[in-house]
Symmetry: C2
Subunit: 105 residues, 2 copies
């Protein structure tokens, strides 16, 4: 679970998950797209693999990685507990979103 979250940490830098969300990619392609070197990416991918967030299939020497979105359902369910809270204040919320977005960028 912890793993998922690092993907959320930085919005400007492209993450593995965000890349895989758009299209599958080999380990090398991911390494190119990321700011870190290949071995680091490999270890990162291992964590994602063990966490069940990505699937690998082998194509000759290359390993093609695919996103498995199912585990994110867990995050969604976790959020559900809080969604109740803010749904009670929807009016105040909309103003808050607008304000927050402006302040954040």
């Amino acid at each position: 679970m912890d793993v998922v979250l690092h993907a959320l940490a930085d919005e400007s830098r492209r993450t593995v998950l965000e890349i895989l969300r758009d299209h599958q990619a080999s380990a090398g392609e991911l390494a190119e797209a990321l700011p870190i070197a290949r071995p680091g990416v490999s270890r990162h991918l291992r964590v994602l693999r063990e966490a069940g967030l990505v699937e690998v299939r082998q194509d000759a020497q290359r390993r093609i990685y695919t996103l498995r979105p199912e585990p994110l359902v867990e995050v969604d369910e976790w959020l559900g507990e809080y969604r109740r809270l803010w749904e009670n204040r929807l009016d105040a919320l909309h103003a808050e979103i607008a304000r927050g977005k402006k302040a954040r960028r």
Copy 2:
């Protein structure tokens, strides 16, 4: 954003956010409920404050903390990008949830 996520990290241990989700609490009460000492809780609360996740109001010497669920909307929006993905495989998903839950405990 990073802050939100540590709350997700461990499901067994009660977190500040989960406590505040149920009811407001003073810093001391939070410290009692948590496995860490008061100074640690104070620093944790500062992060949450600066992240805009909690509000404080002062009552004599005590500081009463309240949850501000709005920022979690951001996480919800982030998840939305992935929700598209898994909504296309809802049937396989439900089986996955059941399997994942059993394996996880």
